[in-house]
């Protein structure tokens, strides 16, 4: 095995006098297998890259540790270059010495030097530890896995499928469509979400290049760009999807009536269910938590009724292993649970619902209620750094205006009140949409609601109108909370499996927000949609397209 080169970027000298680069060099020189570092102009510059190449060539090095102040940016660049130079990129490590110098003292550079030395040695050990990867021998796999079958994942899958690549689309729900399928109509055009989306879900389902792996979760991920090995848990549906024809008889006859999660807990569902009549794939699953047979041991109605004999109570989770060259993570979002918001009754006040539940009420296919006084509260848990989350959820101003407008369109004698902090409507046609809503008679009240409670058959809403300086009390029939957009359940666990980073709220972190918004710090893994942070549909679709084109760029660089 050859020696390992260590290179210190000139930028890192900013850390002097917290450490002593000369002493660093001497100490590294002591180790037989390691060639001492050389100074360079910033390694990321053209000159720097050329110097690295010369250094490696001159000393016949095949492995290298580089320190750089922005390792997440330079890492992928170096790996690409190494591959071009005919070296194995996995036998390199880029690290920043900044963290090692934190809390260091200028009058005692020795401590800083030791810490930097330790950091570099850890990098060296890491490179040593890695067995020579099979890259170079095994072909670069031009197959993609998309995790999450919402509008982001669907968009990316169709693009990649159309480009001729094989796509595996994984979703943990029984069918694809994601959150958008729950929406009624979408801003700012007020076109029907299902009408926009269903053609795409159907296209995805029928696409010869796309394979759906629904009701499945990622178990583990190994390998690297060009050759990821992903283990997937296929959850037991208790229905043999090969035999099932999707006739829907089982759902009709199932005696276990429950509140449907898809209907956001306000509409009816069954223990054996598909998410919607247009589900793709149109195959049901049994929720064993509520199924009468699984909970009480008696029933088996679905088994008796199924004309295809597809019900299988003995089914167990199975595991499959798939190899892909790139992964797009598009696992979407959840809403901040209203059960955690004390001032609005910890979810215990009837008819206080969240935005997605109101979408279901507005939706032609959802449940129905006709409230006459509806209060909408924006920024619930968003923009509240003291108590909940500091960030803006970006979509609530628009969807609340949409809710109020659609409500007024349907209930002509109804009143809609919106409590807001600011109205954020930057987007094509967005401000006009808000203005139109105001003209249609939505009452905007600038202020917060301090409490909700049930009184005299109504929901008493106590709020403040800060523009008039008055306390406002409204006896409402329904209150809709625009709760914060938060990462989907399990986001951090999935990120850990993929070795990608998450931020303090568990949103997935891109390689760099401005210039690498779709890439992650791991080459070959890309992001799309709300898994990265709150986004509207237009931005989500754009990022789905972007992630797909990034994968195509990656694949086109490899000719097997």
């Amino acid at each position: 095995m050859g020696k390992i080169g260590v290179i210190l970027c000139a930028c890192e000298l900013e850390g002097v006098p917290l450490f002593n680069p000369e002493a660093l060099g001497k100490n590294l020189r002591g180790d037989g297998g390691v060639l001492p570092f050389v100074y360079h102009p910033p390694v990321c510059s053209e000159l720097g890259m050329e110097a690295i190449r010369a250094f490696l060539e001159e000393n016949e090095l095949d492995r290298v540790v580089v320190t750089c102040s922005k390792p997440e940016l330079f890492g992928p660049t170096l790996k690409k270059a190494l591959r071009q130079w005919g070296l194995n990129p996995s036998l390199s490590e880029v690290l920043g010495i900044g963290p090692a110098l934190e809390g260091g003292r200028e009058d005692d550079p020795q401590v800083g030097t030791e810490r930097v030395l330790h950091a570099i040695e850890k990098g060296i050990d890491e490179v040593r530890r890695r067995s020579p990867s099979k890259e170079g021998q095994s072909p670069f796999i031009k197959r993609v896995m998309v995790i999450g079958g919402g509008i982001a994942g669907i968009t990316a899958s169709i693009d990649l499928g159309n480009a001729g690549y094989e796509v595996l689309l994984v979703d943990r729900l029984p069918s694809i469509g994601g959150r958008m399928l729950q929406l009624s109509e979408t801003f700012p055009t007020l076109d029907c979400a299902q009408c926009t989306l269903t053609p795409k879900t159907v296209e995805t389902g029928q696409h010869p290049q796309i394979r759906l792996i629904t009701y499945s979760e990622i178990e583990s991920v190994k390998g690297e760009v060009g050759n990821f090995s992903v283990k997937i848990r296929r959850k037991a549906a208790y229905v043999d999807w090969e035999k099932c024809t999707g006739c829907g008889l089982c759902q009709e006859k199932c005696p276990s009536k429950v509140f449907s999660e898809f209907e956001r807990g306000i509409g009816p569902g069954k223990a054996i269910y598909t998410l919607s009549p247009q589900a793709v794939p149109n195959k049901p699953v049994i929720n064993r938590e509520v199924c009468r047979y699984f909970t009480k041991g008696k029933c088996r109605v679905c088994e008796k009724i199924c004309p295809a004999g597809a019900i299988d109570y003995e089914q167990e989770d199975t595991f499959i292993e798939e190899r892909v060259g790139a992964i797009i993570v598009a696992m979407g979002f959840d809403l901040f649970p209203k059960e955690e918001i004390g001032e609005y009754g910890y979810g215990d006040v009837p008819d206080v619902i969240d935005g997605l539940a109101f979408e279901r009420l507005l939706s032609a296919s959802g449940p129905t209620a006709i409230p006459k006084e509806v209060v909408f509260i924006q920024c619930v848990a968003s923009r509240d750094p003291e108590r909940y989350l500091p960030y803006c959820s970006r979509v609530c101003c628009m969807y609340t205006a949409k809710h109020a407008r659609l409500y007024k369109h349907k209930v002509h004698d109804g009143h809609a009140y919106i409590f807001y902090m600011d109205i954020r409507s930057m987007g094509k046609g967005y401000e006009e949409f808000i203005q139109q809503g105001m003209e249609e008679g939505i009452l905007y009240l600038r202020g917060r609601v301090s409490r909700l409670f049930r009184e005299n058959g109504h929901i008493a809403v106590w709020g403040a109108d800060t523009l008039t300086g008055k306390k406002v009390e409204i006896a409402a029939d329904m209150v809709v909370l625009a709760t914060a957009v938060i990462p989907s359940r399990g986001a951090r666990e999935l990120a850990e499996k993929l070795h990608i980073k998450t931020d303090e709220y568990d949103f997935l972190t891109e390689a760099q927000w401005k210039v690498h918004p779709v890439e992650t710090a791991v080459e070959g893994i890309y992001l799309a949609g709300c898994a990265q942070g709150p986004k509207d549909i237009a931005d989500t679709v754009a990022q789905g397209n972007a992630a797909a084109s990034k994968v195509q760029v990656l694949f086109s660089q490899h000719r097997n």
């Binding site: 004390g342 001032e343 910890y346 409490r451 009184e455 005299n456 008493a460």
Partner: protein, 289 residues
């Protein structure tokens, strides 16, 4: 079990009905309230200005003296509890304030006395299950609206008393002593506090909102831990009626009076004659006295 007891001024005068019942109940429940041997007024308000160190001297002195006699100090009055607990926290956390206060009171106190409200003793040390078994007189599901007011709870992060938006300790207490707690939205609102001195019309409106809400929710009585709340929602009911002639009135009981009733204390020990709205007709009607 023994706790140092800081009664506070009001409990020696106007709120004897809160104090005496509390002491009697402790005896019945088997814990001792040992009154601090040397105490002063708590100061009655926690200073709002950060540099008002002077106002910390009385509560700090009380705590420093308590330290010489024991480790846990308890109060019945919400205001005293608020002032003493917050002072204790400040002395623990703020070294500069601690040094100044210590210099001023010429004592050395580091904030290492535990401050508990009587309700917390009932919950943590006696236990509400234990309390249930000690009940001698079944109150028959008397519908009582608990009024927390502000001082037990606010500021939330300093008091750490119970859930900030939907506290339950009072309800659990009422359930343990066979009352039926009434849920109503005003239970953690302000009673009007000292506005009853300078702007009584403001305080009476606060009290009216609280009591009429409790009545709407079916309450037969309201209970409180705080002499100031008691003044505003009990003593001011005459004034409320002047502005709202349909207001029927409702008895206000200190929680220790209800506790004493449930523990079977003789009625003369519970000082019901001190309550402005006489609760005895209601209690008689319910066959409780």
């Amino acid at each position: 079990m023994e706790y140092l007891y800081f009664p506070g001024c009001t409990l020696y005068t106007k709120a004897k009905n809160l104090d005496e019942a509390g002491r009697e109940c402790a005896r019945v429940l088997g814990f001792e309230l040992r009154e601090l041997s040397n105490w002063t007024c708590c100061g009655a308000t926690f200073p709002l200005a950060k540099d008002n160190i002077m106002a910390l001297a009385p509560p700090a002195r009380i705590l420093a003296r308590a330290k010489q006699e024991g480790s846990t100090v308890t109060t019945l009055c919400s205001v005293c509890f608020n002032v003493i607990k917050r002072t204790n926290r400040l002395i623990q956390a703020d070294v500069e304030a601690r040094e100044k206060v210590n210099t001023f009171i010429e004592m050395d106190y580091e904030g290492d006395v535990q401050v508990l409200h009587y309700l917390e003793i009932l919950k943590r040390d006696v236990g509400f299950d234990g309390l249930k078994t000690a009940v001698k007189r079944d109150l028959g599901g008397l519908k009582v609206a608990p009024f927390y007011g502000c001082m037990l709870l606010r500021p939330f992060e300093e008091m750490e008393f119970d859930d900030k938006e939907a506290p339950r300790i009072f309800e659990e207490f009422l359930e343990a002593i066979t009352c039926e707690p009434v849920d109503y939205p005003y239970k953690i609102e302000c009673c009007g506090a000292f506005q009853s001195v300078g702007a009584p019309e403001v305080a009476t409106e606060c009290a009216y909102a609280i009591l009429s809400s409790a009545l709407r929710s079916g309450a037969e009585a309201v209970t409180t831990t705080c002499p100031l709340c008691q003044f505003n929602i009990d003593s001011m009911q005459k004034e409320i009626r002047e502005g709202h002639n349909d207001f029927p009135g409702i008895p206000i009981l200190y929680f220790t009076q209800l506790l004493g009733l449930a523990l079977g204390l003789p009625v003369e020990k519970l000082d019901f004659e001190r309550n402005d709205v006489d609760p005895r007709p209601l209690l008689r009607e319910k066959g409780l006295i």
